[in-house]
């Protein structure tokens, strides 16, 4: 009996070694049972999401959303998926894109309002418990690795504006034109560095790397390939495009018809994209990135195309005013293209000055005490449309350093006697009209600021204002 007792004690002794109580168990128990499951396990458990669960398995996304990056899943309910086109279900690529259009990295709860990137690369708007146009029926089912929203509809992945432009090249001349505005550029960040030059210290890139194709439209107007933002893109019917191009042709007079067309057409299309989605029914006019008024005639809307990063409207008329297309051009005095090189650089001042009339700081150039007879500076403007201009300058001589300024502006060539010498008065901050000048063809315009004898030169800017 006693021996037994001691055996028991011995067993107790060893269990003490192993045993201990567990105050943490209560604390780490999940507050919501769903927090113990990952997103896929939770979806599988819900009978109203069983169809979507099948699609997840079919596309392999089940493994993705079981992983430990956070996910948001907008899971269309079985009811919603009933209307889904069988062609999507049967096409593996389309199905993957479709399912991926309902899953996002990171957890977005119902209260968030933002444009969300989906796993298929597309973005969907998630505002007011609505993913794009589909309403959430059951929000914020929190799981271990994110959140699930049951969705009363589904979102078919759409083309982006850029994809649409390329897909409809043959349909619209405008899109054909835009899609061909391509050029190649060097991007050092993608180029492979072979070595560093011992003489210059600069990298030597591997030939053929870092060259990438860019598009003037996406570069200079709006990047309509960007899925994260939304744009409105106007497409002129071929006839309307021809009308607008014809309007501008006289101002892009060149040696060939093709190049004139290209310049005119570019001038037209650059004002046909807008950031943000506009409902054309609700506006009468819009302003482009280049501050050109776009008059909207609602009756001219032929077709509206909803796209993944915005909307495209096909219009059979957009009546731009040519007067609004051409804006005054300014060349700053300090942006010298070339100069007579016989003077010492100490005579040239690039100065920070304050304009008491406009109350803004400005920079100008002064060449004082250069000692060279008819010393000159030249300025070059690119892509100047062929038309008449009023020519102004601002030359503010504040006499610091002491300078007598007497100068003239020669248009086109150094010897051109377009405008006479002007003795520039002290402290005149106003634009001074020099006269009119007409260019005969589209292209480069050179201007020369020439000193009278050895007088000093002062220039804030030259301004060319189109005259119609």
């Amino acid at each position: 009996m006693c021996l037994k007792k001691f055996n028991c004690l011995f067993i107790l002794f060893t269990t003490f070694l192993l045993g201990s109580c567990e105050p943490w168990n209560d604390r780490i128990a999940a507050t919501n049972a769903s927090l113990e499951r990952n997103a896929f396990e939770e979806i599988s458990l819900r009978s109203n999401l069983s169809k979507f669960a099948e699609l997840l398995v079919k596309t392999g996304y089940d493994k993705v959303i079981s992983g430990s990056q956070n996910f948001t899943i907008w899971a269309p309910t079985n009811d919603a998926l009933q209307s889904l086109d069988a062609t999507i279900i049967n096409d593996a690529v389309k199905l993957k894109a479709f399912v991926g259009n309902h899953i996002a990295n990171q957890a977005y709860y119902a209260k968030t309002g933002q444009r969300v990137k989906m796993l298929n690369g597309k973005y969907n708007n998630f505002f007011n418990k609505q993913l794009d146009l589909a309403k959430i029926t059951e929000a914020d089912l929190v799981v271990k690795n994110g959140v699930i929203h049951a969705l009363g509809g589904y979102i078919i992945p759409l083309q982006s504006i850029w994809e649409f432009v390329n897909a409809t090249k043959s349909e619209y001349k405008q899109n054909d034109f835009v899609s061909k505005l391509n050029y190649f550029a060097f991007n050092p960040s993608t180029a492979i560095i072979d070595s560093i030059s011992s003489s210059t210290g600069r990298p030597i890139y591997r030939p053929g790397t870092g060259i990438e194709q860019r598009n003037t439209f996406t570069n200079n107007v709006y990047d309509i390939t960007d899925e994260s933002k939304e744009y409105t893109y106007l497409i002129l019917s071929d006839a309307a495009l021809a009308v607008e191009v014809a309007k501008l042709n006289p101002y892009f007079k060149t040696s060939t018809t093709d190049s004139t067309y290209n310049q005119s057409a570019w001038k037209v299309v650059q004002d046909l994209a807008l950031q943000g989605v506009y409902k054309m029914e609700e506006v009468s006019e819009l302003f482009s990135k280049f501050n050109v008024r776009i008059p909207i005639d609602k009756s001219a809307i032929v077709k509206t195309v909803k796209l993944s990063n915005g909307v495209a409207y096909v219009m059979n008329k957009v009546d731009f005013k040519k007067e609004e297309k051409f804006k005054p051009m300014v060349v700053e005095g300090e942006d010298v293209f070339s100069r007579l090189s016989t003077t010492s650089s100490t005579a040239t001042f690039i100065r920070e000055r304050f304009n008491p009339i406009s109350n803004v700081k400005y920079r100008d150039i002064g060449v004082v005490g250069h000692g060279v007879t008819n010393y000159w500076l030249s300025y070059r403007l690119q892509g100047v449309p062929a038309m008449k201009y009023k020519v102004y300058w601002v030359a503010a001589n504040d006499n610091v350093p002491t300078a007598t300024v007497n100068q003239r502006l020669a248009m086109g060539t150094l010897t051109s006697a377009t405008f006479p010498f002007v003795a520039v008065p002290l402290n005149n901050f106003q634009e001074v009209l020099l006269g009119e000048y007409t260019t005969t063809s589209f292209g480069t315009l050179d201007m020369y600021l020439i000193a009278n004898a050895t007088n000093s030169l002062i220039l804030d800017y030259i301004k060319l204002v189109p005259v119609f």
């Binding site: 780490i28 507050t31 927090l35």
Partner: protein, 1063 residues
């Protein structure tokens, strides 16, 4: 090891010389008779007869000695009978026998008595207690003393401090941490001071033992433990003076006195004891931290809250799940970092004790070696103790005792506490689980090189374990010689001289590799080299004249008049270096010259204590004791104002105490009652606390570096009025024994009034100093303590002793010079406030988590952001209680949220013996204390890249989510993790503290005296609701900061198997 050998040889040679010289003395001096035999020939006319029986068997005992005050004596015959002559029938007689208890039996007017004797292990009112002046049976003292006869052979890991845990009523022992040798904090009957020392005075064999800590250790949160220098098997008896009796030590007695008596030779025959042990320290159970999966989802939440987009988050290398990605393997582990820093480790121990001698000289020599590796990897302790005690009868009148001890500790350590760069315990918890300790190539091949700090700027715990060095090496020599000269039968002259010398040497090196750099004022510290030496030296001297005599067999006097003197000197010097060229250069001289720093501190003090201790006993029934101390100290101010005695220009503390007891059970009218023993006691005494700082009463200057120039600045406001703190201790109680002494009960009520308490009064900002030290506070402790011992089963082969003690002590502040004092500590605040405990936690109160933005908006509450602007709470933020209803959560909403002092504490002892088996079990408990879980506040901050506890998987996610865990937010701008009741937990626990099973083999006594095997387990089972590794820890030495879990090495389960052989 080489050092050890050298030291051991030195000590052994000292010991041998001593033995030789003792032998030489023995030849010269005429051997004197055993003092006990003196005067036994006396005879009285009154005869008393009786029978002595064995309490467990009821059989008569033969050979039991029955004496009356060493005047008359008798031995029982085979029937247990004896006849003794006594002066009258009011006296008490002593009964003793080998293997049995020693007991006093009051005659109560009877000439025929019967008495039963228990075995020597039995806990009874007749146990021996050691008082500062003499050793006495507990029944004859008017003091409240707690005593344990130490049985340490099965408790090899205990030191004198940890051994006392749960064994003495009133004494709350809290172990500092699980690091071997780390020692304990003692709190005897509540708290006795705010800023001065609160640890009881330790006296080892009449020498005052320096148990203080001087200067900081280089190793964070490490305290060397002087008590570890005494091996528990060398200890015979520990007695704790709890009440006014500690007045005997004057201004060092305010916190009570612990008297440790080391073992001496009891018999002349040579006795050799040899023990060898081996054991395991078990790694603590992991805290439930997130695995790699949960951690990554948490990281996503935190990063998203910082405003990063999904693409930016996906761009982090740890989010890339493409195996072709160059860093894929580096970020796809699931490492259990806690297992990388803590593991099971081994310990071993060898102990040898030799005792013996002749009737001139007796000696006890012991040697001990312990190698103990705690759970923290790459830490270990090597401890070497030697002790030599000798008792010499130099002449008929002159006796002497010698106590020499030398011990050496060599310890490899790690930083602990709030050291986020280098504390491996912390790093093991917060390190990202998907990382690996070693560098990993893009193909997943592991390199033998440890990785550097990670992408989150967190050190590599494995690098801290294997590359960081933190070494403490200390030794202590303590030697004392006492002489006793017998002037006459009544008068003795005594003198003791003691010397203590300590040297503590520390080196530390924080490597560059794997550890986050530190920022100095003028440089980045990539690696850190440090070295420190501390020297502690003191001389102790005590001289006294004592008198003991019994007049007319009625009036017993025992008095002593003496003086004690201590002169102590400490010096601390340290050097810090930074940025040695490589991690191979680890000594301090390799640091960059411009960043080198040196510093140190000194302390000198002198203490003179004159005392009178007078005991009077009337008829062995009425006891009265008077103690008076007159103390002077170099620490006292030059101009102490009131109620002091001045000698010359110096102020002296006059501290009296008076104790009285009535042994009711010895009265004649109690002759036939069922009460075997009943004594009522009362005492009142004034004690003092001189630990007010060596120089705080004087003006001193400290060095200050300003832009590279070294200068001196005022270090304090001199307070020449500064005096000792005083504690008035009152105590009433009784000792009761019934059921033939099978049940013994002691109950005491006490009150401590702490006056002239040292307070750090906040100084005006313009003064440039933070505080001024004044004797301007008062505090009071009230409490009860009780202990009970029961012999539950008492047969000749099976015995079960069950004991329990429980104490409640409540300390409250009675007055302060300001309304309240706030002390910041580990992100929290400690408040000292009138009417409350002096070290209570002071913070915000919470009430769950806002389930939605709407609910948070409805509350209308705001809080200040770090930039000072107000912000609204949102869904997922904590609901803080707005105490002042101003709709702003700020420091005005602080309130008392916890008290770190237990409501109850105590222990339960069990001892079962069955034939050759013994089972010994000790349980300890602490009830009703609050713990500030700083560790959890770091593990559940939900604000950064640190790994979080699994409970944080319940963090608030979305509107409507009902949880008590707030949301994860980068940087925690609304400070959901601020110091609040979220981090205050109940620290109550009940622990199976030690359990040991021993078996004594029946051996041929001619060959071996005994062979005993021990199987011992420590900390085997703990019942607690506390959410940390361990509910027991003590991060500081004083009362401020107690109950704060500062990420120390947790106390570990361990078990040992040992064998003891007696030759």
């Amino acid at each position: 090891m080489r050092n050890f050998t050298r030291y051991t040889i030195q000590v052994l040679s000292i010991a041998c010389c001593s033995i030789v010289s003792v032998g030489a003395i023995a030849q010269v001096i005429t051997p004197s008779n055993d003092i006990r035999e003196v005067g036994v020939s006396t005879s009285f006319k009154n005869k008393v007869s009786g029978v002595i029986k064995d309490a467990s068997t009821g059989k008569p005992l033969e050979g039991i000695r029955v004496t009356y005050k060493n005047l008359t004596a008798a031995i029982t015959d085979e029937k247990g009978k004896f006849v003794l002559t006594v002066p009258n029938y009011k006296v008490s007689i002593q009964v003793e026998g080998e293997g049995f208890q020693t007991k006093e039996v009051a005659l109560k007017g009877q000439s025929n008595i019967g008495a039963v004797l228990y075995d020597e292990n039995h806990s009874s009112p007749y146990n021996t207690v050691t008082l500062p002046t003499h050793t006495i049976s507990q029944n004859a003292t008017p003091y409240n003393v707690g005593a344990v006869q130490v049985q340490g052979w099965d408790k090899v890991l205990e030191t004198a401090d940890t051994y006392l845990q749960g064994r003495i009523a009133g004494l709350n022992v809290t172990r500092r941490s699980g690091t071997p040798n780390s020692g304990s904090s003692f709190f005897l009957r509540g708290l006795s001071s705010l800023n001065a020392n609160v640890q009881p005075l330790i006296v080892v064999d009449v020498l005052i033992y320096d148990n203080s800590h001087y200067g900081n250790s280089l190793i964070s949160n490490y305290y060397d433990n002087p008590l570890a220098n005494i091996d528990i098997r060398d200890v015979d008896n520990i007695t704790v003076l709890k009440d006014g009796a500690s007045t005997m030590y004057g201004t060092k007695g305010a916190n009570g006195v612990i008297l440790i008596t080391t073992a001496r030779a009891k018999e002349l025959a040579t006795k050799i004891d040899f023990g060898t042990y081996g054991g395991i320290n078990f790694a603590p159970k992991n805290l439930p931290m997130m695995n790699a999966y949960d951690y990554r989802t948490y990281l996503s939440d935190v990063l998203k809250s910082s405003g990063k987009s999904a693409d930016e988050i996906a761009a982090y290398p740890f989010m890339n799940d493409d195996p072709k990605f160059a860093e894929y393997y580096r970020y796809h582990y699931d490492t259990d970092w806690q297992k990388k820093v803590m593991d099971n480790h081994y310990l071993q121990n060898v102990y040898l004790k030799v005792t013996g001698g002749d009737n001139v000289a007796k000696y006890a020599l012991s040697l001990n070696y312990l190698k103990n590796q705690g759970a923290l990897n790459a830490t270990k302790l090597g401890r070497y103790n030697t002790r030599f005690n000798a008792d010499l009868n130099l002449s008929k009148r002159l006796t002497s005792s010698i106590n020499l001890s030398f011990s050496l500790n060599e310890q490899e350590l790690k930083n602990q506490g709030i050291q986020p760069r280098t504390n491996p315990v912390y790093l093991g918890l917060v390190k990202a689980p998907f990382l690996h300790s070693y560098d990993v190539s893009s193909d997943g091949i592991e390199s033998p090189d440890l990785t550097d700090r990670d992408i989150f700027n967190v050190s590599n715990p494995a690098a801290v374990i294997s590359l960081m060095q933190a070494r403490n090496q200390n030794y202590r020599f303590l030697g004392g010689v006492s002489f006793l000269y017998k002037l006459s039968n009544s008068f003795d002259l005594g003198s003791t001289i003691g010397i203590n010398f300590d040297k503590i040497k520390e080196n530390s090196f924080v490597p560059r590799k794997g550890v986050v750099s530190d920022t100095l004022s003028n440089a980045i510290a990539y690696n850190k080299l440090a070295s420190q030496t501390k020297r502690i030296y003191y001389i102790f001297n005590e001289n006294y004249v004592s008198f003991q005599r019994t007049f007319a067999h009625v009036h017993a006097f025992n008095a002593r008049l003496g003086m004690r003197y201590i002169s102590s000197k400490i010096e601390q010097d340290f050097g810090l270096g930074f940025n040695s060229a490589t991690d191979e250069l680890v000594s301090v001289g390799n640091g960059v010259g411009a960043l080198r720093r040196v510093g140190g501190s000194i302390g000198e003090s002198r203490w003179l204590n004159t005392y009178l201790s007078a005991d009077y006993g009337l008829s062995d029934k009425y006891f009265l004791a008077l103690n008076v101390a007159l103390d002077g100290s170099s620490r006292f101010g030059a101009d102490v104002l009131d109620e002091t005695i001045k000698i010359g220009k110096r102020s002296f503390a006059l501290l009296p105490s008076l104790s009285a007891a009535w042994l009711i059970s010895s009265e004649n009218f109690m002759a036939n009652s069922g009460i075997n023993f009943l004594k009522v006691r009362a005492s009142i005494g004034l004690t003092g606390n001189d630990a007010i700082g060596d120089y705080n009463s004087r003006q001193y200057y400290v060095s200050q570096n300003l832009l590279g120039m070294q200068g001196l600045v005022r270090g304090n406001f001199a307070n020449p009025n500064l005096k000792w703190e005083s504690v008035l201790k009152t105590n009433v109680g009784f000792d009761l024994s019934i059921l033939h002494e099978r049940l013994t009960l002691t109950v005491d009520a006490f009150q401590h009034d702490i006056r002239d308490m040292l307070v750090k009064e906040p100084a005006p900002v313009a003064s440039g100093l933070q505080y001024l030290l004044t004797n301007s506070g008062t505090m009071q402790t009230k409490g009860f303590e009780t202990s009970v011992n029961v012999r539950v089963i008492n047969t000749s082969t099976f015995k079960w002793d069950l004991g329990a003690n429980i104490t409640t002590a409540k300390t409250i502040v009675k007055s302060l010079p300001t309304e309240q004092l706030l002390t910041p500590f580990g992100n929290g605040t400690i408040v000292t406030k009138v009417g409350e405990a002096p070290n209570a936690f002071y913070g915000y109160t919470t009430n769950g988590v806002y389930t939605s933005d709407a609910e948070a908006a409805q509350s209308g509450l705001k809080t200040k952001l770090f930039d000072g602007t107000l912000a609204d709470f949102k869904g997922g933020d904590m609901r803080f209680v707005d105490l002042d209803n101003n709709k702003i959560i700020d420091e005005k909403d602080h309130q008392l949220i916890g008290n770190p002092n237990p409501k109850f504490y105590g222990g339960i002892t069990n001892r079962l013996t069955w034939n050759n088996w013994t089972l010994d079990a000790l349980c300890t408990f602490v009830v009703g204390n609050s713990i500030y879980n700083y560790t959890r506040s770091q593990l559940e901050s939900l604000s950064g890249f640190n790994n979080q506890s699994q409970a944080m998987n319940n963090r608030w996610r979305a509107d409507g989510h009902i949880t008590d865990v707030p949301k994860a937010t980068w940087g925690d701008p609304l400070q959901n993790g601020r110091f609040s009741d979220r981090w205050i937990e109940d620290g109550s626990y009940l622990r199976l503290r030690t359990m040991s099973l021993s078996y004594s083999w029946p051996v041929n006594k001619k060959v071996l005296k005994y062979v005993i095997a021990y199987l011992t387990g420590n900390n085997l089972l703990t019942f607690t609701n506390y959410l940390g590794y361990e509910p027991e820890f003590s991060a500081t030495n004083g009362i401020l900061g107690q109950g704060t879990d500062l990420l120390l090495e947790p106390i570990q389960k361990s078990c040992q198997l040992g064998i003891r052989i007696g030759l």
